[in-house]
């Protein structure tokens, strides 16, 4: 990020509009986070990958307008959310459908050891989160998986603090309730 501290006039341009180098530093590394978020919303890894590519192209093409954006990652996440929701709507499909695909992907990311040990529980948790309403699913993903601050979540989801906190509270409590139920049946 040398470009952002320099005062040399010849480097000014790099500060004003993003070049390929700054794109590689600031935007490309967010790809996995964007992918996970899109995947959480869409439930399909192929589509999530398409969305991430679309986001990257959008950010690159709009780089002249985006010179002033400070939190590039949150901005990319917001575009990811919007594009994913557009896709969901055009598909007119409920996001809770592709539970099976979700499990398939998750298995690939687990080590063989983890797979045998936790397989059943992980499946159950994936289902639980997939069954949550859209907003709660977004918030619990951003907070508990990605570890974003409340302010960043507000920025990404374009919600106010209250809505974010209420959604997270409901999401966590829905998960907790289900754990209690499972335990009750287990006994």
């Amino acid at each position: 990020m040398k470009y952002f501290v320099t005062t040399c006039p010849c480097h000014r341009l790099a500060f004003e509009t993003m070049n390929l180098e700054t794109f590689e530093i600031r935007v490309l590394p967010t790809k996995n986070k964007l992918f996970r978020f899109a995947f959480r919303l869409l439930g399909s890894s192929e589509e999530a990958k398409d969305v991430v590519q679309e986001v990257m192209i959008k950010v690159w093409n709009g780089r002249e307008q985006m010179a002033e954006i400070q939190n590039m990652e949150a901005w990319c996440m917001r575009i990811t959310k919007n594009l994913s929701l557009d896709r969901l709507r055009s598909r007119q499909r409920r996001a809770t459908d592709p539970i099976e695909q979700g499990m398939e992907i998750k298995n690939e990311t687990l080590t063989p050891h983890e797979r045998t040990e936790n397989h059943e529980n992980m499946e159950r948790i994936t289902e639980m989160i997939a069954a949550l309403p859209e907003k709660q699913r977004q918030v619990i993903h951003l907070r508990d998986v990605e570890g974003y601050s409340y302010n960043e979540i507000c920025e990404i989801l374009e919600l106010d603090m209250n809505q974010v906190k209420v959604s997270l509270f409901r999401a966590r409590n829905a998960v907790k309730e289900k754990f209690l139920k499972i335990n009750a049946y287990g006994l």
């Binding site: 992918f35 093409n61 998750k106 983890e114 570890g147 906190k165 509270f169 907790k176």
Partner: protein, 174 residues
């Protein structure tokens, strides 16, 4: 961390009162061995951990994106410009067409009062003469009628003249 602290942190977690650091502490704690009673909760935090490691499955995603943005850029801009001009042009076409049709309709509804009726100038002259003659005839007739009003005028003047004379005579008598 002892189990009591963990219980407290968990309680805070369910109430959404934990900070990001505390949530990281919980995650770190549940990566290790935990008692049977907390194994379900531990799975939840392990699940978050595992999920965060998920990556885009593509051999060289960065190169793919870079090649895409190189191809995409100029093309996209031209299309957008044409699109914008196209919108303006379409708007103008609509306005022009609308005014044309409205004008036509207006002409049909209110035909203009002065229209060319003669193609031969001599005929037109004749017709104009006729019209003018007719007007002058009417004028003459009207003038005759107006002549009658003169009588009244004269009478009025005479009366006024008399009354004036009378007043003068009275004034000299005194």
């Amino acid at each position: 961390m002892d189990s009591k602290q963990i219980e407290q942190l968990l309680e805070k977690y369910w109430n959404c009162e934990t900070s990001l650091e505390e949530e990281q502490q919980l995650r770190a704690h549940f990566r290790g061995e935990v008692p049977e009673s907390l194994s379900e909760i531990a799975d939840l935090f392990r699940y978050f951990d595992v999920q965060q490691k998920q990556q885009v499955e593509h051999s060289d995603f960065d190169a793919l994106v870079k090649s895409q943005i190189k191809q995409h850029r100029p093309e996209g801009k031209i299309i957008k410009m044409f699109y914008n001009y196209g919108r303006i042009a379409a708007g103008l076409v609509v306005v022009v067409a609308a005014t044309y049709f409205v004008r036509q309709e207006m002409r049909k509804a209110y035909p203009p009062e002065i229209t060319d009726t003669y193609s031969d100038p001599r005929l037109a002259l004749e017709e104009t003469k006729k019209a003018l003659l007719m007007i002058s005839k009417s004028f003459n007739k009207a003038q005759k009628e107006v002549g009658k009003i003169k009588v009244f005028n004269e009478a009025e003047e005479r009366i006024q003249g008399k009354s004036l004379d009378e007043t003068k005579e009275q004034a000299t008598k005194i």
